[in-house]
């Protein structure tokens, strides 16, 4: 579904991605984990066309997409979920959701868009309760849900998720990932999720890549990685006690 081959991206003058390669198969949930500043978000922004790669290939759904504009990619079915704070804060929940269907509104009938809206409300009942409220007045968790709920409105083939757990309480994180897994299962959506919360990400992903300073330093299935002592020490906080002693 998605394949990156030695992609290099500069963020200003800084080489943020130093040639990363990864692939995501259809229907898979793949996680990209790693510490702050590893280039996780840069990787997502490069895939979604917000940043243009300096070199390397990005193939989505069989066609070369490196350097394509974001609106073209959304048309192709590759949608990056906005962070909660990138919603239109002054706009109502309903307005934000309808913006999710922006690219297809010209082609699709209103009734289809409306039935999609009902599906989103079924997935996120809280959004229906808050539909007239402006997005800025929602709690952090609700904003993340709105951002996530907006994505199915575009009928994506593949979702790119940028730190869905950021700033959320542990219980809400759990719920978020449950919904993401559900999206993947029910709608058949392929998911690439970037996450600092390694534990939560590995619990839902099938495979994962570990990114450090712009390079993929490790990859494997989620269960392999969560057993890896290096990962356990650095990200999962296991064995920390022995180390100190």
């Amino acid at each position: 579904m998605l394949k990156l081959q030695s992609v290099i991206t500069y963020y200003g003058r800084i080489m943020a991605l130093r040639g990363i390669s990864l692939h995501v198969d259809p229907g898979e949930i793949v996680a990209v984990v790693g510490p702050n500043g590893a280039g996780k978000t840069t990787a997502l922004n490069t895939i979604s066309g917000v940043l243009a790669p300096k070199s390397g290939r990005i193939v989505f759904d069989g066609s070369e997409v490196a350097g394509k504009s974001t609106d073209n990619l959304v048309d192709m079915g590759l949608v990056q979920v906005t962070e909660g704070r990138q919603l239109s804060a002054d706009m109502s929940v309903y307005g934000n959701l309808m913006l999710g269907a922006y690219r297809r509104s010209a082609a699709d009938k209103k009734s289809i868009v409306r039935s999609d809206l009902q599906r989103v409300f079924a997935m996120f009942p809280i959004l229906e309760d808050r539909r007239t409220q402006s997005a800025g007045t929602l709690s952090g968790g609700e904003q993340q849900m709105l951002a996530l709920g907006r994505a199915p409105m575009a009928r994506p083939k593949m979702l790119l998720l940028d730190e869905p757990s950021m700033g959320l309480a542990p219980l809400v994180v759990k719920e978020m990932f449950k919904i993401i897994a559900g999206l993947c299962k029910q709608e058949g959506t392929t998911v690439l999720v970037v996450e600092q919360n390694v534990k939560a990400a590995l619990a839902v992903a099938k495979r994962a890549y570990v990114l450090e300073t712009g390079r993929v330093v490790m990859e494997g299935t989620a269960s392999e990685l969560s057993k890896n002592p290096e990962i356990q020490r650095a990200y999962l906080g296991k064995g920390y006690k022995q180390m100190v002693e």
Binding site: S48, D71, D75, Q86, L87, S88, M98, L99
Partner: protein, 295 residues
């Protein structure tokens, strides 16, 4: 009393024009953070095109063509701002619009000359008794009713556009958060061009409306643009309702100032700027600014 209501009426009519121009400033500012000093020239282009056409065709043709001409000029200015948008600072873009405004005015003078061109009233001939209403001692011309009616229609249309249409929502989303807007697939550049086209279209409407019964001149843009700018800043840039309120208020104050200081009649233009200075000193975010939460 009679003088008061008369001045009030003409003040409201003038203020409506300022309000329309102010909306134009706010639309572009919201999308780009750029104060578009070519806004006044959009007004002039609308007025001049209408004036030239009205010599040959009826208002029903001249008015829409004038709006289209304004939109076209707006699109060109929008492109000029858009191309260097990412590399240039906002200040250089503002200066670019000043340059564009001088260029537009210069070209207009080249094509249409210096002399004013008569624009007839929308309806009725001259100050015929049939075209005048008496209200509270004031004489209200049909044209003044047109001005107010057109302004109200435009304000409602703009409001509905931003609130209820998908394109309007998309434009708001771009203004609120360009990255977020891009991610749902909104072409931000296209929205910026659209904001220039809308602002220019509104400006052209204001231009045709304000010059009916008067003369349209190539130099009329600067003064109207500055008044509209004052109104937009007074209302809080990017705040549409604030700009509209401030525009009408500005027109009224400008008109009534003669009652208080009769010698001001020649300097009523200065009133706008005095008000602007005072308000900016006291409430820098505009008269309708909501209190911002302290983080």
């Amino acid at each position: 009393m009679e003088q008061f209501s008369q001045l009030l009426v003409s003040g409201i009519a003038n203020g409506c024009i300022y309000a329309i121009v102010a909306i134009g400033f706010s639309i572009i500012y919201a999308g780009t953070q750029v104060i578009n000093f070519a806004q006044g020239e959009f007004v002039m282009v609308g007025a001049m095109v209408a004036a030239v056409l009205l010599a040959k065709v009826s208002l029903l043709i001249a008015f829409p063509v004038a709006i289209l001409a304004g939109c076209l000029v707006g699109a060109v200015v929008g492109l000029c701002v858009l191309i260097p948008l990412k590399r240039a600072s906002v200040v250089s873009l503002v200066i670019l619009t000043v340059g564009a405004s001088l260029l537009i005015r210069g070209l207009a003078q080249l094509f249409w000359g210096e002399e004013g061109r008569m624009v007839p009233y929308f309806t009725g001939v001259t100050a015929n008794e049939d075209n005048i209403f008496h209200f509270a001692g004031a004489v209200i011309g049909v044209q003044q009713i047109w001005v107010v009616a057109i302004t109200i229609a435009l304000v409602i249309a703009t409001h509905c556009f931003f609130k209820y249409t998908l394109t309007g929502r998309a434009m708001r989303a771009c203004a609120l958060n360009p990255t977020g807007a891009r991610l749902v697939g909104i072409n931000v550049h296209r929205m910026i061009i659209l904001s220039f086209i809308m602002a220019a279209g509104l400006g052209a409407v204001a231009g045709v409306t304000v010059s009916a019964g008067l003369y349209a001149r190539c130099t009329m843009g600067a003064a109207l643009g500055l008044k509209g700018f004052c109104a937009a800043v007074l209302g809080g840039l990017g705040n549409y309702s604030g700009g509209i309120a401030a525009g009408v208020l500005l027109g009224v104050v400008e008109s009534l100032i003669v009652l208080i200081i009769p010698s001001m009649s020649d300097y009523s233009d200065a009133a706008a700027f005095v008000i602007l200075l005072v308000v900016l000193l006291l409430k820098p975010d505009g008269i309708l600014a909501r209190k911002k939460a302290v983080a």
